[in-house]
Structure formats: structure tokens, C-alpha cells
């Protein structure tokens, strides 16, 4: 039983938002009936266009946003209706990296405090095996994120975009999570920086056997990093499966359109 229990199990998950003004005022279903399992060690990419509900779905998995209806379980325990203090297992094992490190890092905190903040959380400390020596852990994760130790004394605004995203990654890794959720983590970065950060993700996920859920609009990035993919359109998962199978043999029309729209470097070789 326990071997086949998925890390995340989502059943008929729905989330609606209310829009007060403008065209389309009323209730909008951002996520509209999603069933999804994420197994331990799986590297799942969730792709779709803006408004497809992919970020909302990820946020519900992180219990930042609650579903309007449906069930979400983490390791067999419901998290959709749990009280904050009952989310200990989730909060201590799951970490998240956001798209824009400018807004996800506290501008008034030094890098050292940003990175070690999760270690001060009672939920993480209560886990027992959490890193106790915060200063040692700081140096360790900065090195893993390929950052110089002296960056610890700096503020986010003193760093480049790529460095900031590495700080966000170091922070997520600090409490030694089993699951990493990432929402468009390289979309705001230059291609040259993107390559560095993607290499870092691939190395870390592999070295630690992390369960990884990556939300992205860039199909090439998802294909590079993930082993499976779920394609979302208008709040639903329209197709899912092993990444190579979906990319080579898309079955759903929307997946085909999405893949055909990706600009490729025009081949001039002859």
C-alpha cells in the first residue's frame, strides 16, 4: 500500500475565482476538474498558456490556494481542507521556487536570513532530521546553488537576476525537502542565465532524487528537465503521459497546436 501511495493525489479538483468588473464578470473556473497523481521521484511538467490554470494547480498542491471543491492528498493525507497546523508534513517536505525572484525574496532581508528562514520554521525543526546547524547549512546550500559564500551578507537588490533565482533555489533546498515545486522558474531569465539555472535544477533533482513539479509555458524547458508532462487548457488536463511520447505523438489537438507554435531555429543547413 505505502509503496504505491502517490506523493500527491488530486481528484476532481476545481478552483473558481470571482471577477467583479469588466467583460467576463462572474465566476471563472481557473481549474476545472483535474485528476492527477504525482509519484515519488517523478519529474512532472505542467504546461499550458496563460490562464490555463497551471499556476493555480501548483499553488493548490503547495496549499497556498485552497480548492473550491475536490480532494488533494499529500502522502495519503488530505491537505485541501486541513488546518494550517495540520500541514506539518507538507510544509516540512515540500518547497517552492517562484517565477520572479524580485518579488519572492524579501528585499529587506540579507541572503543569509532569506536562505535560513525555512530552517527556523517550527514545522521544519519538528521534523527531527532537519539540519540543525543553520550556518553550516547556509554555506552548504549556497555552494550547491553555485553561489559564493560572501553573497550571504548582501541584499537581493545587489544581485543579478540569475543570482537571485539561485538564492531562491538555495532557500528551497535548505530544509532538505523531498519535493520541489517550481512555477516558471526560468521564464524571467536571459537564455544564457537560463542554461545555468536549468543545469542546476537537473543536477540537484537527480542528486537528491527529488520529486519535481515544474510549471512552464516553455515546452523545450519541460522536455529537458521532466520525465512526464501534463498539458492544461482552460482549467483541464487535456493530455498527459511520458514526456517523449507526448512530444513525439501528441494525441490531443490542443497539444498539437501548442507544439506546432513553438518557434524553432530555422534550419539553414543544406
Amino acid at each position: 500500500m505505502s509503496e504505491s501511495t502517490p506523493e500527491f493525489a488530486l481528484r476532481e479538483v476545481r478552483r473558481t475565482f470571482h471577477r467583479r468588473r469588466g467583460r467576463g464578470a462572474g465566476t471563472v473556473a481557473a481549474v476545472d476538474g483535474v485528476d492527477l497523481d504525482v509519484m515519488a521521484g517523478q519529474r512532472l511538467g505542467i504546461v499550458g498558456e496563460s490562464g490555463s490554470g497551471k499556476s493555480t494547480l501548483l499553488r493548490m498542491m503547495a496549499a497556498i490556494v485552497a480548492p473550491t471543491s475536490g480532494r488533494i492528498s499529500f502522502r495519503g493525507h488530505r491537505i485541501d481542507s486541513a488546518r494550517p497546523r495540520d500541514l506539518g508534513a507538507l510544509r516540512s517536505s515540500v518547497q517552492m521556487v517562484f517565477q520572479d525572484p524580485n518579488s519572492s525574496l524579501d528585499p529587506r532581508m540579507k541572503v543569509a536570513d532569506i536562505v535560513t528562514e525555512p530552517l527556523r520554521s517550527p514545522l521544519v525543526r519538528g521534523r527531527g532530521d532537519a539540519p540543525a546547524d543553520r550556518r553550516a547549512r547556509l554555506v552548504e546550500v549556497l555552494a550547491e546553488a553555485e553561489l559564493e559564500p560572501d553573497i550571504a551578507r548582501r541584499y537581493p537588490h545587489e544581485l543579478s537576476g540569475g543570482q537571485r533565482q539561485r538564492v531562491a533555489i538555495a532557500r528551497a533546498l535548505a530544509p532538505e525537502p523531498d519535493v520541489l515545486l517550481a512555477d516558471e522558474p526560468v521564464s524571467a531569465l536571459d537564455v544564457s542565465v537560463r542554461a545555468h539555472v536549468l543545469n542546476l535544477f537537473v543536477d540537484l533533482v537527480r542528486a537528491r532524487g527529488l520529486t519535481f513539479v515544474l510549471v512552464g509555458h516553455d515546452l523545450a524547458v519541460v522536455r529537458h528537465v521532466c520525465d512526464s508532462v501534463a498539458v492544461m487548457q482552460a482549467g483541464r488536463v487535456v493530455e498527459s503521459g511520458p514526456v517523449e511520447q507526448v512530444y513525439r505523438n501528441p494525441r490531443h489537438d490542443y497539444t498539437k497546436t501548442l507544439l506546432a507554435s513553438v518557434p524553432s531555429i530555422r534550419a539553414h543547413r543544406g
Binding site: 469588466g22 467583460r23 498558456e49 496563460s50 537576476g161 536571459d190 537564455v191 544564457s192 537560463r194 542554461a195 545555468h196 536549468l198 543545469n199 537537473v202 537527480r206 509555458h217 515546452l219 523545450a220 524547458v221 522536455r223 529537458h224 528537465v225 514526456v243 517523449e244 497546436t257 501548442l258 506546432a260 507554435s261 513553438v262 518557434p263 524553432s264 531555429i265 530555422r266 539553414h268 543547413r269
Partner: protein, 281 residues
């Protein structure tokens, strides 16, 4: 006269900056030619576009020479520059939500571009022309779109309106600054298609600024690579993609080609080709 646009030793500096943002660049654009301008953030792509359009802020200092159809633009007064903008050259910005006036129906905004430059057209005629242009950029419901405010349109529709504004006076040069970067891929594909057909129909030359090599390779014949305010390499897209001379260009091309690397394998980075520290003198 073969050159439509000729830029010679253009330097742009900002007050208080230790080094110029654009450090003396030169390039030319023939009538009808499509030239891509690629580089990372901060390389000076957008400042180049603003300098050509005469839209630099007052804190900037521009020198060198920019000639459009033989006419020197550097040092030209605001009023004269305004007459050239929108008629002889126009621009499509990255973010149509900030480029469009939020308080004005988009039909009027497109019409304004026409009226500013052709005093004699009557308003009924202008309206007709605006709607025809909106249809040409793939907005079949032109009447309704023209009567909408920007916030009532989707990102793709807004960018089509921008393209319509840029094309409507049939300028000789259109400068596009990351025109599809803010759009979803399926929308991007359609907007690029509209832009491609529009440019061909009008016969306009295009300076196409983008960080996305794939997009540039779809639209442009030639490309310029900028790095820290300098042009490091220029040439036909095909040559640059496969036989770049400058190591920085080779690195930039390699990082953009996720498709050439096996999934999960290490991606090449610019530093594999080019050590930035040797450049920082």
C-alpha cells in the same frame, strides 16, 4: 541611394553613467531588409531602438549619425522628428498595454496616427481605413475591436492593434522591440505571421529586436549581435547560426538550442565559449 537606414558610430550615454550604454555602433539597413538585433538584457538593444526613433529620455546624450533615406536624424528637433515617426518609421513595443492609451478606444488611437500625418482625410474615410487595417492584421470583428478600450482586448488582440498602427501609414521602416515576448506561444505564432505578411505587403524594412534567436531566425534575413553596447558580430542569419566567428555569438546560439541537447544532459553555457572577464578591461 541603396541604404534606407545608415547608423554610423552612434553613441548613447546617460547622465551619471561611467561608460556609454551604446559605445559607437554602425550598421545599415536596405529598403525592405529585415534585420534582427539580438543580445541579452542590458546589451543595449532597446536603447538602440529608442535612439533611432528619437524617443530617448532627456537624461540621455546621443551622438554620431543616423540617416533615414539620406536625412540626418541626430540633432533634429522634436517637432520634425514627430513628423517622421508614424509616417516614415514606426515602432511596435513589447507591452501593448503600456504603449496604448488606456482611456481611448483603440480605433481612435489607430485613426490618430493617420490624421496626424494626412491632414486632408475625412473622419468617415479614416474610420473605414482603420477597420480595413484591423481586418488585415487578423481582427475580423474590426468594428467591435475599434470601439473597444485596450483593457477589453486580449494580449494578442492588443498587439495586433499595435501592428495595425505601425503599418497603417505604410512606413519604410518598422522597428519592433520584443513584439511577441509577452505573448503565449500559439498567439505569438499568429502575431508573427501577421507581422510577416504585413511587412511584405507594405514592403517595409524591419529592425526586429528580440532575445529569442528562434523568432529572429523565422522573421529576419540578417542579424546583429549586441554585447554590452557594442556590435560583436553581424551577418546573414544562416551564417551566424552555424558559423559564427565571435565566441560570444557561438555561446549565445548554443544556449538557445535546447533542442540539440539530449534531455537531462548538461546544457552548454556562454562561458564554455567566451570568458566575459577578458572583455572587462
Amino acid at each position: 541611394m541603396t541604404e534606407l537606414l545608415s547608423v554610423e558610430n552612434m553613441v548613447v550615454g546617460f547622465e551619471g553613467a561611467s561608460r556609454p550604454t551604446i559605445g559607437g555602433i554602425s550598421f545599415t539597413l536596405r529598403a525592405g531588409q529585415r534585420l534582427g538585433l539580438i543580445g541579452e538584457s542590458g546589451s543595449g538593444k532597446s536603447v538602440t531602438a529608442l535612439a533611432l526613433m528619437g524617443l530617448l529620455p532627456d537624461t540621455a546624450h546621443l551622438s554620431g549619425s543616423v540617416r533615414l533615406a539620406g536625412r540626418e536624424l541626430v540633432g533634429l528637433g522634436d517637432a520634425k522628428m514627430a513628423r517622421i515617426r508614424g509616417r516614415e518609421m514606426s515602432m511596435v513595443f513589447q507591452e501593448p498595454m503600456t504603449a496604448l492609451d488606456p482611456t481611448m478606444r483603440v480605433g481612435r488611437q489607430v485613426a490618430e496616427v493617420v490624421r496626424l500625418h494626412c491632414a486632408r482625410t475625412g473622419s468617415g474615410h479614416t474610420r473605414e481605413r482603420v477597420c480595413r487595417m484591423l481586418e488585415e492584421v487578423g481582427l475580423p470583428d474590426a468594428e467591435r475591436i475599434a470601439d473597444s478600450y485596450p483593457f477589453q482586448l486580449s494580449g494578442g488582440q492588443r498587439q495586433r492593434v499595435m501592428v495595425a498602427m505601425a503599418l497603417i501609414n505604410r512606413p519604410e521602416l518598422i522597428i519592433c522591440d520584443e513584439p511577441t515576448t509577452a505573448l503565449d506561444v500559439t498567439v505569438q505564432a499568429r502575431v508573427l505571421d501577421v507581422l510577416d505578411r504585413g511587412l511584405r505587403e507594405v514592403g517595409a524594412a524591419c529592425l526586429f529586436i528580440s532575445h529569442d534567436l528562434a523568432v529572429v531566425s523565422q522573421i529576419c534575413d540578417d542579424v546583429i549581435v549586441m554585447y554590452r553596447g557594442q556590435i560583436v558580430e553581424a551577418g546573414p542569419v544562416a551564417v551566424l547560426l552555424d558559423h559564427a566567428r565571435h565566441p560570444y555569438t557561438r555561446g549565445l546560439v548554443a544556449t538557445a538550442r535546447l533542442d540539440e541537447v539530449a534531455p537531462g544532459a548538461r546544457l552548454r553555457v556562454i562561458e564554455d565559449f567566451w570568458d566575459a572577464s577578458q572583455e572587462r578591461r
